[in-house]
Amino acid sequence: MRFMMVVIPKGYDKAKPGAMPDAKLVAEMSRYNESLHKAGVLLSMEGLRPPSMGARVSFKGGKPKVTDGPFAEAKEVIGGFWMIRVKSKAEAVEWAKRCPMPDGEIVEVRQVQEFEDFPADVQEAASGEPALRAQLEKKAKKG
């Protein structure tokens, strides 16, 4: 099973452009990353720049609308993630518990939606059969 451990750092919604985590935290974090790597469970990981350096594209009436960060309405924003492959949700949670997080921060554990999880018709649509995809789209529009 693949899980994403998503970091939601406290106050990152208001972080200034170019904000950096402090060196001590980075050192602890790389020790943690090393432990995930050595245990053979780490697939990939990334840290994200603050929302103030990003943009949001929202959709209304079929039109995309672009808003530059920071985003006033967002309270919990993503700071980064690890993608891991483990045996169970409990194991993913166990790894998340070992994360050296400062007070008030959150690590959210979410399982990846695997292809095999989809019902057969969705699987076939995703596997690129054009006729079937068209049929499904038709069905979806009707419904």
Binding site: A39, L43, V93, W95
Partner: protein, 426 residues
Amino acid sequence: MAASATHVANATIEAVWRIESAKIVAGLARMTRDVGLAEELAQEALVAALEKWPGSGVPDNPGAWLMAAAKNRALDHFRHAKLVEVKHEEIGRDMEEGFTPDFDAALEDDIGDDLLRLVFTACHPVLSTEARAALTLRLLCGLTTDEIARAFLVPEPTMAQRIVRAKRTLAEARVPFEVPRGEELSSRLASVLEVVYLVFNEGYSATAGDDWTRPALCEDALRLGRILAELAPDEPEVHGLVALMEIQASRFRARSGPSGEPVLLLDQDRSRWDHVLVRRGLAALDRAEKSGGVLGPYALQAAIAACHARAPTPGETDWKRIVALYDALAQVMPSPIVELNRAVAVAMAFGPAEGLALIDAIASEPALRGYHLLPSVRGDFLEKLGRIDEARGEFERAASLTRNSREIRLLLDRAAALHPGLRVVK
């Protein structure tokens, strides 16, 4: 409420066990110099946790708790066993040197060496390949006997016996708990890698819809391979094997169709490959290649797999490079199967006539007698060369040599499509 708390605690214990068990067994094995005993003591600690944690809650550092519990049992064991004084001193010394109460430090610094010793012991050539695989899954991956039995399609008592016998064999042969050095290292490492790849292939050859324990073996093997790559970073073949497994695993989603039928590599929808695994595989191959020296069989097979992984479409495959890699593979691991694969690559790179010449040169190999892929490949070349009647005969012969009903159908369809009458219509 209480039942659900127990359930949660048990799920947590299982997770902690999965993460910590190999380190605990490895640490105990260093202390006891007996892998079988170490595993039993670790199991006792697990039982203690299962009894205690549902009531008391999971401790803050569950790994350290389990290790401490196991260590106390080891001390009890030796007290009761009334070992000779010398042995006591030995253990006491080990305790002072290695088992400091500073568990974290011990975990980070020495445990890697202990894990590596455990891998080499579990995969010792004194054991059969099956026994090595079973013991490795038990000791390094923390699988239960029942899970291993189901994965290898044998009854649980059979597997339990196999594991017990393996532990006894190690004890009787007085296999030392150590990492081999010098010349012995490469042959012993080959024995370890063979086991990891065997576990991977057991999982990879399992079809969808089977018991989940079989496909899960791929994950166990990959996890083990990645751990090994960090424990023995200077061994190019370890990275080669990891690269090969990552790239093969990346095709998992694309290699069977909606009703479970196999989809051949060149027919796969490449957008469905797991590109994170492809990237990891290419990175591991890079490590193997950068370490210098002649590439071994795993790294070469990974390099061949990488040629496919790098090609956005089948038409862009670098077949000439694949031929060169098969040439090298035939040098380090000569086998008629490698020759057969090489012939296919040659045909793709230089045309079917070249491939046919190579096939005909190995057709009389005893190892290929009765192997359906030989006439199947030969039929393919003949068809491309327009020698239709001969091609049809080869496909029919291939169909008569396999028992797989899907393959028989595929081969007979190909033969039927080559009917002269049909060809005129075309």
